[in-house]
Symmetry: C2
Subunit: 133 residues, 2 copies
């Protein structure tokens, strides 16, 4: 599991959903992706196939053949993509300040108490591990 940095900073809606399916399943055929994908409006089989091919040419996924069937898998880890996309946004929007993002969230959304607890714990833990470093 290499550090395999880099990776995409932006993914379209469909592309991200497809990646999620692949991350969840490890590897999947076109029809498996298609099935896992549908929520309400099912996409045509060929739509999914085409998207996968485009994504492959962009290096987001790769495939191996099993008989005449393609088995796709993600070319990047989920954490790496999430990181990049989140970084990108915080960069573009808040000049890289995580606290600006959070403050924004806290002031514009109704964050539940459990969420707040989780957050507090996270920050504390992070501070601790930072302190003794």
């Amino acid at each position: 599991m290499e550090t395999d940095c880099v990776g995409p900073r932006k993914l379209g809606d469909l592309q991200l959903k497809i990646m999620k399916v692949l991350w969840a399943r490890g590897r999947a055929t076109v029809s498996e992706v298609q099935q896992d994908l549908d929520g309400a409006k099912a996409l045509a089989y060929t739509t999914v196939a085409t998207m996968l091919r485009k994504m492959e040419s962009r290096g987001l996924v790769r495939h191996l053949s099993e008989g005449r069937t393609f088995i796709y898998e993600a070319a990047y880890e989920e954490s790496s993509v999430s990181k990049n996309m989140a970084d990108d946004l915080v960069e573009r929007l808040f000049e890289g300040r995580l606290s600006s993002l959070v403050s924004h969230f806290l002031s514009t959304r109704d964050v539940s108490e459990e969420e707040l607890d989780r957050l507090e714990k996270l920050v504390r833990k992070s501070k601790r591990s930072k302190g003794k470093q």
Copy 2:
């Protein structure tokens, strides 16, 4: 300054930069935007003008004429756009869980101690105000 909710959930790079210029200046002509915009590679005047026209047709900005010159201004507040974009990402990436986002950041980036302090204060404050509600 109405609550003017809604607003765009996604903005391209250039569009966001233009919005930032408008937010910073309040209102601006095409050439003002063009000037404020440049960082390294300057864009053609017409590029900026075209983009502004496209953005206007999408409702992101509006203009008023002063003589034959257009004065543009943002049609949405910065906070509202930031919120939408951030919400969109957290939705797409972390199923809406702010803590997942933060945890992600804390574990993948080197967040400074000051940032951590800021964060802790933010969360505490938010918890307090929530408690007595």
